[in-house]
């Protein structure tokens, strides 16, 4: 009797233990930055895209964790031989969270809204190549481009290209309504944001989470404390690399260190002295010791870069031999440029990677004979004075967009780099649809901006994710700004 009772007892015990675990289908996610709105078509703040793209809203195409383009609201598409006409076949039976059935009309509306004269879309460059958008039938859309555009399908997967319905565009900033696998539930400003599962989504069966709660915690120490106290299940963009070792040693957590598309640069104002002189810029390039910088500012958790292109990208070329760390050479070049011993102003962005790197760059330029004054400024001040008014000598910032070498081709950008040769090259890259030829051109572009020492190229911003044991499915790298939760499971 006792022998037969034991397995039954064990089974009952196992059931008792398993029951609460199975009921756990909610997740609490820490996020550093709280956006002021939730609509990626009106503001560029990274946190908006991270939270809502692919979760609340969907796009025609979708970028997966490897960076490859997958079907989104369009289940398939055909591209004409000249690379200018895209015919998208839309999913049928899709509805917005408010019940409106999704049709080709919504695609037209969303694109026309983004392309309108008075559009506030933060990334209109996505729509620049479009000549016309036409509705073929209820579930087919044809987009004609003015010229072939290699990144078009990738760009269509970005947050600013989401498909919205006209009934809710005015309120999407505070109550977003899309077609995605999660629906907006509640937003307590300054504290948390809640999504619930969309039971009507076409892939609802594969979505494990019933409820998602984002908690806004800006302070790294508070973020670590919340994780340790079990208040959070995940912190996918953890801001404090110095704490990674501690979490790695803790069996209750798993740590993922991946890459982002964020190149951290020491931008030099090419438009005004002293950095309108290439020798001054070369001197800075020689003064930088990336190894020391990454160890000091990022606790070793970053990959050095030598041009404006991520090391995990397909067209990456290693140009680290171009300007090796050489303080004596830097000093000689500063002397040649006639500015040795002058004082430069460095205004980093107010994020840990920025302010920490600034102190080390200050010391490294100091070793090459330059005085650097650091001015730690607010984010709003940085956007206004550095980014819009170009009022700076040096700044440190991460450019988190993918395929952003095109920034060098922009007119009156804050770097002050003005090169028709590069603009021609970028035009060639944009319109080249052959992968191999484009890669070769992208490598030329990397060489050009690296040889001319337009910027100081520092390191690729890592993506540090800390997860409670049993939380799985988060992206380990971020090929585009998104945090898809449909694939996340909680044990």
């Amino acid at each position: 009797m006792r022998l037969t009772a034991a397995p039954a007892l064990l089974a009952a015990l196992a059931l008792a233990l398993a029951a609460p675990a199975a009921a756990q289908t909610r997740i609490s996610i820490g996020i550093q930055q709280e956006p002021t709105a939730l609509d990626p078509t009106i503001e560029a703040t990274a946190a908006i895209n991270v939270m809502v793209t692919q979760n609340i809203f969907e796009t025609l195409t979708r970028v997966d964790r490897s960076g490859a383009v997958q079907p989104g609201l369009a289940e398939s598409w055909e591209i004409s031989d000249d690379g200018r006409t895209y015919r998208f076949h839309l999913h049928q039976g899709v509805a917005f969270h408010d019940g409106t059935p999704f049709t080709a009309d919504h695609v037209l509306f969303s694109f026309e809204r983004a392309m309108a004269e008075d559009s506030t879309n933060p990334r209109r460059i996505i729509f620049d190549p479009i000549e016309s958008v036409e509705m073929i039938d209820e579930h087919t859309v044809e987009i004609t481009l003015a010229r072939p555009e290699a990144f078009f399908l990738f760009e269509l997967a970005r947050g600013p290209a989401i498909i919205v319905t006209p009934e809710t565009v005015e309120t999407n900033a505070t109550r977003p309504v899309g077609t995605g696998p999660f629906m907006f539930d509640a937003w307590t400003r300054g504290d948390r944001l809640r999504f619930v599962k969309n039971p009507g989504h076409r892939n609802a069966d594969e979505v494990a989470l019933d409820m998602v709660e984002f908690r806004f915690i800006a302070d790294p120490a508070a973020a670590a404390a919340a994780l340790l106290a079990g208040e959070l299940d995940a912190f996918p963009g953890f801001p404090a690399p110095e704490l990674v070792a501690q979490f790695e040693a803790d069996p209750r957590f798993t740590v993922q260190v991946g890459t982002t598309e964020g190149e951290v640069i020491l931008a030099m104002n090419n438009a005004r002295p002293p950095f309108d002189d290439i020798r001054a810029r070369q001197a800075v390039s020689h003064a930088i010791n990336r190894e020391e910088l990454i160890e000091g500012a990022m606790y070793g958790l970053a990959v050095p870069i030598s041009s404006f292109y991520p090391p995990h990208g397909p067209a990456f070329v290693d140009l680290s031999d171009l300007y090796p760390h050489d303080p004596d050479r830097a000093r000689a070049l500063f002397e040649e440029a006639g500015i040795l011993g002058d004082t430069l102003t460095l205004r980093p962005v107010p994020f840990p990677y920025g302010t920490r790197s600034a102190e080390i760059i200050q010391a490294q330029l100091g070793a090459a004979g330059m005085n650097v004054r650091i001015e730690n400024v607010e984010w709003g001040f940085w956007l206004e004075e550095v980014f819009r008014n170009h009022n700076y000598d040096l700044t440190i910032v991460a450019h988190t967009e993918s395929n952003d070498l095109g920034n060098f081709a922009r007119d009156s950008y804050y770097w002050g780099y003005d090169s028709d040769a590069f603009r021609e090259l970028w035009e060639a890259i944009r319109t080249e649809t052959d992968d191999e030829a484009r890669i070769a051109l992208l490598q030329d572009a990397q060489r050009m901006v690296s040889e001319e020492a337009v910027l100081g190229y520092l390191f690729q911003l890592p993506l540090i994710g800390i997860f409670r044991d049993g939380v799985e499915g988060f992206w380990d790298s971020q090929p585009t700004l998104a945090l898809p939760l449909a694939e996340v499971t909680v044990r």
């Binding site: 120490a221 110095e242 704490l243 080390i360 001015e375 001040f381």
Partner: protein, 275 residues
């Protein structure tokens, strides 16, 4: 005189002498260059070379604490001197003129009391960019009404004294009397107040630097060292403990000294305590 030698006075004087001494010494000597980084030698424990170890960038902690002491003392000294002299001048003026001038000055002082110093500092740093001077001016600003009030209160008492009446009868003007008779007699409470304000200024400088509104890198400050050490609490708690102890020692020292000085200069307090 020996009855004044209270434990408060001794402990306060010793702490103040130590902090001021270290700050003065940092002008001519620190064990290492306070800004010299050595990332490979980061988080080094205390040793013969680095007496209190190194920080997250491999800089010598003792040298940083010493230079930070100097920064802290400089800010507090300039701020208290500046706020004190302006405040005393207003206090004397209010007391000498009386009437609506006194009312006006004291009401403005009330507003100054109510205005948060932190907001003023943020405002200043938005206009001029953050620097040590922002901290100095913000702290000086909050000191003005404090000194104005203390001076005016003490001066009003002196104005009722017979020797002041005699001076007035002799035809001496209000400003001359303020200078010759009132100022020397309010000096004692003002000096006591200055000592206490000094402690508050050290704390305020640490708070502003903690928020990034005070000393800018590479110039060290106890407040900034504390804020930088915050996320390192689990890894290197000593980096937060050392500047914390320094702030405590400096503030405690000046507070105790101020208390003790007040006991000495205010005989009523001493007598009531003995009774």
């Amino acid at each position: 005189m020996s009855r004044h030698l209270t434990p408060n006075l001794v402990l306060g004087a010793v702490l103040v002498a130590f902090v001021v001494g270290v700050a003065a010494l940092s002008l001519v000597w620190t064990p290492h260059d306070h800004a010299a980084m050595n990332i490979r030698a980061r988080f080094a424990p205390a040793s013969d070379i680095h007496w209190l170890g190194t920080d997250q960038l491999g800089r010598d902690v003792v040298s940083q604490l010493m230079v930070a002491a100097r920064n802290s003392m400089t800010v507090a000294l300039i701020a208290v001197l500046m706020g004190g002299s302006i405040g005393v001048a207003f206090g004397l003026l209010a007391s000498a003129l009386g009437g609506w001038v006194e009312d006006l000055i004291m009401r403005v002082a009330d507003i100054g009391f109510a205005f948060p110093a932190l907001l003023f500092a943020i405002m200043l740093s938005a206009v001029f960019g953050p620097s040590l001077w922002v901290a100095v001016f913000a702290i000086a600003f909050i000191n003005i009404p404090v000194f104005a009030r203390v001076t005016r209160g003490a001066a009003n008492v002196i104005w009722t004294r017979d020797y002041v009446a005699a001076a007035r009868a002799a035809g001496q003007g209000r400003f001359a009397i303020s200078r010759d008779h009132i100022l020397p007699n309010v000096a004692a409470p003002v000096i006591v107040q200055a000592t206490i304000e000094f402690a508050i200024a050290i704390l305020a400088e640490a708070a502003l630097s903690y928020l990034g509104l005070g000393a800018q890198p590479p110039s060290p400050s106890w407040g900034r060292m504390l804020s930088e050490a915050q996320t390192l609490m689990f890894m290197a708690p000593q980096l937060a403990i050392y500047p914390g102890l320094c702030i405590m020692a400096a503030v405690l020292g000046f507070s105790l000294l101020g208390d003790a000085l007040r006991d000495i200069t205010d005989p009523r307090l001493t007598r009531s305590r003995q009774a």
